[in-house]
Symmetry: C2
Subunit: 245 residues, 2 copies
DNA sequence: AAAAAGAGTGACCACATCGTCATTATTGGG
DNA sequence: CCCAATAATGACGATGTGGTCACTCTTTTT
């Protein structure tokens, strides 16, 4: 079967035909391959975000890239593999960040340490947002659909995120830093809130300065919406609120 | 064009051929039509939730229903119209509930009245959840995808919900009942949290008793996660938390 | 009971889509 | 410069899909 080009003993290369690196060194072929890969990924990502994963065909992608259809299959096994490749870097950073947060919370004894752990995750997310906005958008769009076909990997990532979030919340609970609300509930609520706000940012809904979001979210998540009881009737001007005549 | 069967002067019926009620009274035809419609809608909804809107074909729906393909087009213009029909009742109740909440908040002067307004919306959502769980699921699955093809109406509803939520939050703000966080931010955050939890309930993720959710959400949204400063170190057993040995 | 109107059917058309593969073009080593 | 290895191409077969329509079956009206 895969009997050609087996110069280097790579063992069983699961990738059926694609992605198998060109034998040569770091020369022209390698470069060109990387370029092509990126071109395909970029075009595909744009289309995915525009139309949704399922309504983009391989033909659409290759036409948008300006290559022949056969070329696609030289680079990716199928659409699902392409999606996986798109997701890979974000998934890596994100999960790493969440795990680090979990570890930090295991030893967090006070509110300050808890803050710090959450801030670190926020930084990871912000970084992903800046480096891979399209991929984050794709995730937000598709993560809640059924885990079928090309969407499988996105749904898997979503499940992982949920699990980690609940886990983290659980850990924050064990040191009595949070109200006694079920971790599964508060964890998912926070994930939902964050994801909805990310979507707003990426969809350019009017939401003010994105840089204010972390602070606002922290306030909301930690201390809620209600004006602190006992505080003055709050006549302060609301940011962004309509001015009374 | 539509030159046959134009015996009755119906004027311009936008519905091209389908949904035009059978002339007869409330007799056999009418009944049968309702049954067929429901059969088609039920089968379609099941498939939509299983595979996602875009991966379900008209053939799938008619085969699942056990009717010929042509029959589908007698009842619905196309897939988008079917989705619209599925959404209709939930959309109606939901928007009505949100508007009522808005009106209530316009005259709400204290926290109690605010509570009451939110409770009313929660009741509407709970009712929709019980009456139309599949439709709610469909909404949660598809609402974030691009507004293309059959998904257009779902995306529209999502936009409406967001607008109403921000609106409501804005109103709650004007009486100084909430912290000075941008309404667009807190409103969307709450929507995100609620939707994520609904999804958890409908996906049967382990989240405890769904009936506890409204209370938990109220606590989270209004007063946040952090244990109230000054409270005792919170040694109370966490509901659902792992027991320490 | 007969005729008219409505409802249901499934073959059918045109076109889209996947994934393959023989063929042609390009690259790198000798 | 030539040749083997690799990459790119796009026509192709098989199957899927939306939507139509002449026809048959059922219900309602006369």
């Amino acid at each position: 079967m895969t009997s050609r080009g087996e110069t280097r003993g790579k063992g069983a290369d699961t990738r059926p035909e694609a992605a198998r690196r060109p034998g040569p060194p770091g020369g022209r072929r390698e470069t060109h391959r990387r370029e092509r890969t990126k071109e395909l990924e970029d075009a595909a990502l744009r289309l995915f975000v525009e139309r949704g994963l399922d309504l983009v065909t391989i033909d659409d992608i290759t036409q948008a890239t300006g290559v022949a259809k056969g070329t696609f299959y030289r680079y990716f096994e199928d659409k699902a593999a392409l999606v996986d490749a798109l997701l890979a870097p974000v998934r890596g950073e994100l999960l790493e960040g969440l795990e680090a947060c979990g570890r930090a919370l295991e030893v967090a004894r006070d509110v300050e340490a808890m803050f710090e752990a959450y801030r670190a995750v926020a930084a990871v997310i912000a970084s992903a947002l800046l480096q891979y906005p399209g991929v984050v958008r794709l995730y937000l769009q598709e993560s809640r659909g059924p885990a079928v076909g090309a969407r499988t990997k996105v749904a898997e990532l979503s499940k992982l995120v949920a699990r980690h979030a609940v886990d983290i919340t659980q850990k924050a609970h064990t040191h009595g830093l949070l109200r006694p609300v079920r971790a599964a509930v508060s964890g998912l609520a926070v994930v939902g809130a964050v994801e909805r706000l990310l979507l707003a940012v990426l969809s350019e809904e009017d939401i003010g300065n994105p840089l204010d979001l972390p602070d606002a979210l922290t306030t909301l998540v930690l201390d809620g919406l209600r004006v602190p009881p006992g505080a003055r009737p709050a006549r302060r001007k609301l940011d962004g609120g309509p001015k009374r005549p």
